[in-house]
Symmetry: C2
Subunit: 357 residues, 2 copies
């Protein structure tokens, strides 16, 4: 059929160009979808996968998995507003957040997926910026974004864009980090100052300033966790205190392990700007979200080695012992205040700061 | 500290009740989030996982994976409007769709994740109905929903709710289904009548009727694929013709395998109601989305056995050979019309029917 010219001579009807905007057709699975993926998304993520674009990514089984390990699988959607804020964006947040969910199980992350829901009218440049942030964060973490999906919804929905990431990883044989493993006598460590992410978002959203500009603490924590495990530390429980803050993580540990948690409130590292913002807004820093911190419960003898491993990681500066596990009041988180009084600390009811991640 | 009563004596401040609506606090990671998950979502999904709720689900490595298999990993977001339509809902669609993406790589699905983005004001009953549809579809498919996340956005966004599912599966050793494996002489099979999903959504949305009420074809296809593989059929390529329809799947096969695809248009099973609707609306049935069909490229000798396997599956009724692979016009899909003429069939540019999945 020589009368039909090959497709590479057909003109591309609507190439994606700077200054253009997302249209509904970009989610239609046709030519426009393919262009958006090939011209905007894949370059930001570091190119197409080796085997070409398929319905699924395929991953060879790592030795740690074949060798008695378990698969870890996690997902998080990100709806943070605004999309860009001091120190980060929805893009790197979506990469760090799911990597951290895997890491909290002791998993070495293998791959991420990326599900985008775009609003009609979103500037392609904005999408490209978010995709580049995702690609850069994934590259820095050493975890590829291997599969994805893009949908478009009508103008007025989706606030620009929402991102879902899912992730898979490998928990090596013998690693048992679980919500129910805290034991009386154990020590509670937080990997650094709390409240930065929540206050950074709120400052940006409301145009408030609290002394210095606070930046999000958004960071990947899988290397810190790998460091703890390879140092032979018996990590009993790990949580990342995101929505609900440190208080939510600690009350969950108390409930899941059926132990009491004592929090030495004076020992909790709270940056001055976070304290100032929380005082002004009537928030409790213990309820404010973090995106680059972890809470670890370890055996008492492991506290100093764990602090040393955390301190050697850029994301672990300011790590501190903040409390202990007790059998005195199972199921409860009790704070010792600076004045020596005790108070029961509960999870927040709902959300102090909506759309924080 | 006997003065503090245990938490099981505290009253639950805002239990989730029928007739209630989603509030922003349901996405806050606090008490309300926990209630929504424990009272609405987990019961619909068949209860909490054995190891309790963690940041990641943990999966033992199946024998097929340890034994030289590969991991498959896929994701899809669902933004279909309306949420409920003849024969299905966004819930079962989200389960079937990601299972099918895994199946198109020859994978046996292991587990799904569920990321929900809820609109403030959504009726809890609506959420419960969607969650039950997800749970039922997952149970029927034998694939658990093992991990999830819930976010809430403000009123006017998210059209009720959006769902993301990701999935993991195992491609057994020796299975090599890939976009580039079609060879001249191969046969193209579609597993049943096309266009039902797209026309069902459109009829529901626009209040149109086309003779009989069309129902979505939404169905899980992993058992059909497993049947093809266990029958020893050399399946070269599999695609599920969702957005963009059969035309998009076949043009992608032509492009990826650098072969020509000839489509015998008279052989393509198009239900009368789909033909009537497409005629009325000026749509090409080849561009209309399906959610329970697959396109298989197989060696010529495997065509009859493949049709037999498909025909034995409830989702494979009406399977038919619809075309062949040629070296005559690499990269192109060429249709032979009912009148014997030939035409080049392209992917749609954008979307004929937005928000179809």
């Amino acid at each position: 059929m020589p009368e039909i010219s090959p497709p590479d001579q057909w003109s591309c009807p609507l190439p994606v160009r700077a200054g253009e905007r997302v249209v509904l057709g970009h989610g239609g699975g046709g030519v426009l979808s393919a262009e958006l993926i090939e011209q905007v998304i894949l370059p930001a993520f570091g190119g197409a996968p080796a085997g070409g674009l398929r319905d699924s990514a395929l991953v060879d089984v790592p030795a740690a998995l074949a060798d008695g390990g378990r698969l870890a699988f996690s997902t998080d959607s990100y709806v943070v507003a605004p999309l860009f804020f001091p120190g980060g964006s929805i893009g790197d947040l979506a990469v760090h957040g799911t990597i951290n969910d895997l890491a909290m199980s002791g998993a070495l992350p293998l791959m991420l997926s990326c599900g985008l829901i775009l609003e009609e009218g979103l500037e392609i440049d904005t999408l490209a910026r978010v995709a580049r942030d995702m690609g850069r964060a994934a590259h820095a973490a050493g975890v590829p974004i291997g599969t994805g999906d893009t949908k478009v919804v009508g103008q007025g929905h989706a606030d620009g864009l929402y991102v879902n990431t899912a992730g898979i990883g490998v928990v090596p044989a013998g690693v048992e980090i679980g919500p129910a493993r805290a034991r009386p006598g154990d020590v509670v460590i937080v990997s650094g100052p709390i409240g930065e992410h929540g206050v950074a978002i709120l400052s940006q959203r409301e145009g408030l300033e609290f002394g210095t500009t606070l930046r999000t603490d958004s960071a990947s924590l899988h290397r810190m966790v790998a460091g703890l495990l390879s140092a032979g530390i018996d990590v009993r429980v790990l949580r990342d205190p995101t929505r609900g803050g440190l208080a939510a993580s600690l009350t969950e540990i108390a409930a899941d392990s059926r132990v009491g948690v004592v929090l030495d409130e004076a020992a909790v590292p709270v940056p001055d700007a976070v304290a100032a913002a929380c005082g002004f807004l009537g928030l409790d820093p213990l309820h404010v979200a973090n995106e680059g911190k972890l809470v670890a419960v370890v055996a008492p003898d492991d506290a100093d080695p764990a602090l040393a491993v955390m301190g050697a990681d850029p994301a672990g500066r300011g790590a501190a012992v903040v409390g202990s596990i007790t059998d005195a009041h199972p199921g409860l988180l009790v704070g010792r205040t600076r004045l020596g009084a005790r108070r029961v600390i509960d999870r927040p009811l709902g959300e102090q700061l909506p759309r924080i991640c």
